[in-house]
Amino acid sequence: MNILTKNWDKINPLDINSYIRTGGGYESLRKCIREMNPAQVVDEIEKSGLRGRGGAGFPTGEKWELAANTPAKTKYFICNLDESEPGTYKDRVIAEKNPHQIIEGLLIGAFAVGAKRAFIYINGHYRKQNEILKVALEQAREKEFVGHSVMGSAIDIEIDIFQGAGAYICGEETALINSIEGKRGEPRLKPPYPPVKGLFGKPTVVNNAETLANIPFIIKRGAKIFSQIGAAVSPGTKLFVLEGAVKNRGIHEAPLGTTSQELIYNSLYGGGIESGKEFWFAQIGGASGRLAPAGKLDQPLAYGKSEYTLGCGSIFVVDKSANIKDLLFSWADFFHRESCGKCVPCREGTYRLWEIAKRLKKNNLQKKDIENIEDILWTLSSTTFCPLGNFAAVAWNDAMRMFGREIFNIELGESEFV
């Protein structure tokens, strides 16, 4: 079942008519505006069981309901396209192949919660996709899907593209909101949550681009059909990005609940390990994801309850020729660079971890480093202000447990906070 990728290569992303003809585009928006009221739309999304595809997997309908029920004159709706997890590019490809799918979902969302102003917050490195979205928005505006009096109704929805500066932390919704407000991209204290008090203090929904791309389908085909796809706890399909030592690298759409085993080895998806290579472990959910050894690949990947959090849905397959020290360095390097600098354990901890990783890479590890690694990973996993600090420790923690003995001749105990 393809929801998201169905029309990808049949549509000319630079021509709105191609989206309208091929995919029945903007019919869902029309249905919402002509046949439904906002409460019904929220209800439909809630019934569908759709969960956010950005990583946290929060039920989308609940988020919308909260924003819709918060009394305020001004509300905002933001599409989060600040995809910056290493090895993840699903949102980028949606924007590139079918930008109107995102825009339609965004319009429906804005209509449902009563937002007159919407933003697409796009990663600063996505220049091409930004241009494509600009063209798409312009065409949608000409067709009166965007702007004053949407489809001749009394509804106004203005959409602007906001280009970020490529900071990883700005994918976190409150940091993203700070960024749009012109402030430093740093997470805010929660609560209050954005649907209650978000952009400029107004109720704001921030939804991942892939989440929004699901919306037109749900409205068109109904919540019931959607909820029967995928896993019961988190229905629908998901874009999985397969990277590393698999045969078919790239984006694969699969129902939620599919196991990593299937994704990696089924010829529909990954098609197995590249010839001449031997599977070692897979990292599930991007650089912030956990490491799964061969024996753990049979777990279904879905939001809600799984040992390996799905995150943004990328699977990085590592084969035995890889150097774990290089990998540890690259994780430490990434999180050290992307820490926002707000709280002590993350700012200083990721720096020290990176420093140690440099020595590790050069086989120059000092005795006290090993003790320090344990302390840093512990403080990152249990004391940081926002989850970025925890993310920075996830892969390292797993690597220490799985390969600690072979790397440094040490073994870390199970931390109760991980």
Binding site: G341, V344, T350, T383, F385
Partner: protein, 584 residues
């Protein structure tokens, strides 16, 4: 509701943070970023972490609100481990130059390091990396940016001591609306500094230096210069001490806030070797006489109103930089410091037959901005620099400790009487509302020609940030206002500009509760400490035999012998000044 902390029940409101409940009940939690003047806290330092039954990981007690059923443990193994690791991380990023540090013994990081036994560098200090030439790779990768700024006359910054707690950023933005500081760079490069790292160019109130937990932002140190002057046999060192200093100086030596330590202060200065110790309160009395005269003149001339007080150099700078259209409203009177100083080098020097060139005039002030004020170009009425140097209370105490002088063991001494007799009105200058009250005591008597029955004007007292009152004098309804903290002053200026309010006379102090909350006062301070200091000031005023500035016998004499009358040509020359539009 009730919440459980360390297995005991405590009363809490839904708005309370865990930290607030703990503080109220005497449960100590270590903090580096939370501060009672900077609420709500942002949870940056991760020192006040506690274990809670509502959350899997540790939570920061300064941000976590109390809720029904909350149970908290403040001293578990995990909590202490977290604090210790985070402290070690901070400690390694810190300069670690304790022995030569201005804040040695008064540094919040240092005292936590002691408490948690952080006595060695677990991580290689970043600064050390920069210095080691043989580890070229590390030097190349050094991520720590050090910003050192000593370009202004008031505040010194050295970011190698900085723990990025953001107190300075918040106080400058939220209390003073100046927003001189912000965060530069990201991740471990994060550095607190000015925009584009230009030299600090603010109103120099020094609140940032008063809340800084380390020595990253401090008063600019003038103790070396002071020592040099004291050691110069050719020079005569004459000191004046501000009204508020006598109520806070004791804190540096372990006394409770608000303890009246005038005699000890004078004795300590004499022991240091100062030739004369005069009282800025006399300058304050002089300010009142001139300012009351100016107010009466403005009433006669019907404006311009409101007349703003001009004792606070940060306030003056704020108007000059951001609201120059209100310059005509500023009183032309100099501040007490700048009124007393020229008298030393003219009136007193002539009387004592001393060459003013030989006099080094030093002020002990609660304030970093006074350092700036003393260096303003136009402040040289005596023909010399009126004030040669200004030391804050903290600097004086530091110097005394260095010289091993403990005021507690000294016998109290009196100010030198030539310029050292003061009144209760002048003492009131130490706190917000004091200038107003002192001015009213004089102005009302001047206008009515009758003696006041009750000298207290309680309506202008209090701790609220903006207070106003209407006082009937001889058929005239005098509308007055008292504000402190620049955010309140800004609100007032905005409402004046819109025509939403009008006053005759407004007192403005940049610091919280006026000079007793000054940027150069002993640390740590906060609302409770300032309240105790205010109580000390009010008690002192009440106990003084003379409580009105115009009854100061020394001043009467000075007017008779030297100045003539308030507003005279001589007074204009020595005691009044002009302001400059500094808006860019």
């Amino acid at each position: 509701m009730q919440i459980k902390i360390n297995n005991k029940l405590y009363e809490a409101n839904p708005d309370d943070t865990i930290l607030a409940v703990c503080r109220r009940n005497g449960i100590r939690l270590p903090v580096l970023c939370a501060h009672p003047d900077l609420l709500p806290s942002e949870g940056v330092c991760r020192m006040c972490l506690v274990e809670s039954n509502q959350s899997k990981g540790l939570v920061s007690s300064c941000t976590q609100k109390a809720c029904e059923g909350l149970e908290v443990q403040t001293e578990t193994e995990n909590v202490n481990r977290a604090r210790k690791i985070n402290l070690e991380l901070l400690w390694a990023d810190h300069a670690g130059k304790c022995a030569s540090c201005k804040r040695n013994g008064r540094c919040e990081l240092q005292s936590l390091a002691k408490e948690y036994d952080v006595d060695e560098f677990k991580f290689v200090p970043r600064r050390k990396e920069l210095e080691s030439g043989d580890e070229l790779d590390l030097v190349k990768d050094n991520w720590s940016h050090v910003a050192i700024d000593g370009k202004n006359s008031s505040i010194a910054r050295d970011s190698q001591f900085c723990v990025e707690c953001r107190r300075c950023v918040k106080i400058c933005r939220d209390m003073q609306t100046v927003e001189a500081y912000g965060m530069n760079y990201r991740s471990s490069k994060t550095n607190i500094g000015t925009s584009f790292e230009i030299p600090l160019d603010c109103i120099f109130c020094g609140q940032c230096s008063a809340v800084c937990p380390t020595a990253a932002i401090t008063e600019k140190d003038d103790t070396a210069e002071f020592e040099k002057a004291l050691g110069d046999p050719q020079k005569m060192v004459i000191v004046q001490t501000a009204p508020s200093v006598r109520f806070t100086f004791g804190e540096e030596f372990g006394e409770a806030p608000g303890t009246f330590w005038e005699g000890k202060l004078v004795a300590a200065l004499k022991r240091l070797g100062c030739d004369k110790v005069f009282d800025t309160v006399l300058g304050a009395d002089l300010t009142i006489i001139e300012e009351a005269h100016e107010l009466i003149q403005r009433v006669k001339n019907k404006g311009p109103f409101p007349m703003f007080t001009s004792c606070c150099p940060s306030w003056i700078l704020y108007v000059e930089k951001y609201w120059p259209e209100f310059i005509p409203n500023l009183s032309s009177c100099k501040s007490p410091q700048q009124m007393l100083a020229p008298l030393m080098k003219t009136y007193w020097a002539q009387k004592e037959k001393i060459n003013p060139d030989q006099i080094i005039s030093v002020s002990i002030m609660p304030c970093t901005s006074k350092k700036y004020e003393a260096q303003r170009k136009e402040i040289n009425a005596s023909g010399y620099r009126d004030v040669d140097m200004v030391l804050t209370v903290r600097e004086l105490a530091r110097l005394l400790r260095k010289k091993k002088i403990d005021p507690r063991s000294l016998k109290e001494k009196k100010f030198d009487p030539a310029l050292g007799v003061s009144t209760g009105a002048g003492v009131l200058f130490a706190q917000s509302g004091g200038v107003m009250e002192a001015a009213l005591r004089t102005a009302v008597e001047n206008i009515t020609g009758e003696e006041l029955g009750k000298v207290e004007f309680e309506m202008v007292r209090g701790e609220s940030g903006a207070r106003c009152a209407e006082i009937g004098v001889d058929g005239l309804k005098l509308r007055v206002a008292v504000v402190h903290e620049i955010k309140n002053a800004k609100n007032l200026l905005e409402s004046l500009k819109k025509g939403e309010s009008n006053y005759h006379f407004v007192e403005v102090m940049a610091c919280p509760n006026g000079c007793i909350g000054g940027g150069g006062q002993p640390v740590p301070a906060g609302p409770a400490v300032r309240k105790a200091r205010i109580a000390g000031v009010l008690a002192r005023d009440k106990g003084m035999p003379i409580r009105k500035s115009h009854e100061n016998p020394v001043l009467k004499k000075i007017y008779k012998e030297f100045l003539g009358h308030p507003g005279s040509e001589k007074a204009e020359e020595l005691l009044h000044t002009e302001y400059v539009n500094r808006k860019t």
